[in-house]
Amino acid sequence: MSDQPVDVLIIGAGASGAAMAWSLADTRMHIVCMEQGDWMNPADYPTTGKDWEVRQGAEYSFSPNKRGRVTDYPVNDDDSPIKIANFNGVGGGTVLYAGHFPRLHPSDFRVRSLDGVADDWPLDYQLLEPYFTENDRMMGVAALAGDPAYPPKPAVLPPVPIGKLGETLARGFNKLGWHWWPSDAAIATRPYEGRDQCANLGPCISGCSQGAKASTDITYWPAAIRAGVELRTRCRVREITLDEKGMANGVIYYDADGNEQFQAAYIVILACNGVGTPRILLNSRSERFPDGLANSSGLVGKNLMLHPYASVQGVFDEPLDGYIGPAGCCIWSQEFYETDADRGYLRGYTMEITRGRGAVTTATAGMAAGKIPWGAGHHEAYGQLFNKTAGMVVICEDLPELHNQVTLDPVLKDSDGIPAPKVSYTLSENSRQMLNHGMERGKEILRAAGAREVTADAPMAIAGWHLMGTARMGTDPATSVVNEWCRSHDVKNLFIVDGSVFVTSGGVNPTSTIQAIALYAADNIKKRLTELFD
């Protein structure tokens, strides 16, 4: 037990916790970050072995339920067609993310004003722009300047090579006259700040053995620790405690041996993602907050947004060398990003071109789909698919709905006895229409690029990668959980800086925006230190 308070206690060492810790280190305050997982060793990542495809689906699975590490907590997602993905360790979800690194667009912060749906954010793209830029520098983002889908923005490193597969798809986009651009990628395409350059290993999504992908264990954390931040692993926070004045005064957590501990703190910052954060808040009940901490609005855990994904695949006659290059970072299209009401839905989506499947996955997926038979026809059918398949995922904006939510499971618990999160989620009609539109446009592109056979499927069950909206920001305490700089309306020394604070989801991967918001919140804390709790 430690009754000696630290100045700042950050819970979670992932994308936002790392950015927050690094920025606050300027203050020379005593900053401690508690992470329930371990440091990762890139030498252990699957791409160091020929069995990488098997391990990618087991101990490096996106799903905490499938992965089942001692550092994971279970998630009851039976009541959702999209299953929750995360990673628990230093770096959090960035350990397993693709590094696909788009920003939200200016219009994403103004959806009520522009389209009459959901709510506007209490901040905007222009306000966040310097934080996006700072974050791009810290993460080392590879990009090509000049993308007409965005306001002008700098490129820190040269773009990832798009390869034969990318060029084939690009020609398809050009035939249709549709937008495409090399993806912004949090991948070092040149040696950068102690990181080696990308070696085109392929499956970034099971950890980067090369150390080129910007997971925060190798970007923000070394810098934060050099600046004096203390990072404690294997500390699983159960609840945040309050003093008699209703201020957060510390956390109760379990250490690596399962012993209950207490750490006092003057400021508590939650950075546990859109499922982990409401879980801790809902589990932090008191007389003052019988429905969970900072929950006077009743919105903690509500409005969960997941980004429904569609998958569109095409088979080509020629080899595409899709195993060369970052699997999730090639080219993107935002032709259908902004609202066009004639399409039958509001808001829009990104098309993210993905590279090919590995040799084993081609076989297992092909046989499961009935495309590769047993017997004499096996080799020929396999040969028609392997290294000749290209495709994309369609990332749809998910609008907030109260009934999509995270609650505490009454039965399921983690290994320390903390209630597991329960996710209840349904697809909206708007999302269904958007997915259908995306699948049809995706098929058109693949055919234009020369695919002889195209298939599409939605929603992708495995794709609960983006967890947002469960502690939304706003200026009105009745309709939001945190204010516009991420301080809880109810508890003045409690902050939330992960995807929970998103008001809407945009139609892009959220990590860049999550980190920009964390840096913005950190800047506000630093600027307001003398009046922080007023």
Binding site: T47, H105, P148, P159, G177, Q334, V360, H379
Partner: protein
């Protein structure tokens, strides 16, 4: 067909023969590719199948029962295919597990990887060389006005 003889397998010699026969039915030898029942591959598959021994032995029992007085691997191709079709209907979970284990081991085999045009090694540390991108492909996109919506 495999000549695999193993003394430390959890499966009996007859079960191993049946399973190797199934492997060969799934992925037979071709001009450039080995059979999945190649001894080196089959040994790895049998090891992997042991993780669900009960399920596997149930399937072997179904095939043995179907073969009657004969042994499964001694049946004609047509007879074996009929029994496998029956097995698919009775224990689809076995077929799914078996296919996955065979494909996993087969497509990691060095000879198979080489035949597919791959280097027989993991991605790291060697990595792969990507060709230079032809950025002139972007010319029509660069010529477009901004797509993002003004706010």
């Amino acid at each position: 067909m495999s000549e695999l003889i193993s003394t430390d397998s959890v499966f009996s010699a007859e079960s191993r023969q049946t399973l190797c026969c199934l492997m060969d039915m799934m992925i037979p030898v071709s001009e450039h590719m080995p059979s999945a029942a190649d001894p080196a591959i089959a040994a790895l598959v049998l090891n992997a199948l042991a993780a669900r021994q009960e399920l596997v032995l149930e399937a072997v029992a179904v095939l043995s029962e179907g073969a009657g007085d004969a042994r499964f691997h001694e049946l004609s191709q047509l007879q074996r295919e009929a029994l496998v079709a029956d097995l698919r209907a009775k224990t689809p979970q076995f077929i799914s597990f078996f296919q996955s284990q065979v494909a996993t081991q087969y497509y990691q085999d060095d000879r198979v990887m080489v035949a597919l045009g791959l280097e027989p090694r993991p991605p790291h540390p060697g990595g792969y060389k990507a060709p230079e991108t032809d950025w002139t492909l972007l010319e029509p996109v660069r010529a477009r006005p901004p797509l993002y919506r003004p706010v």
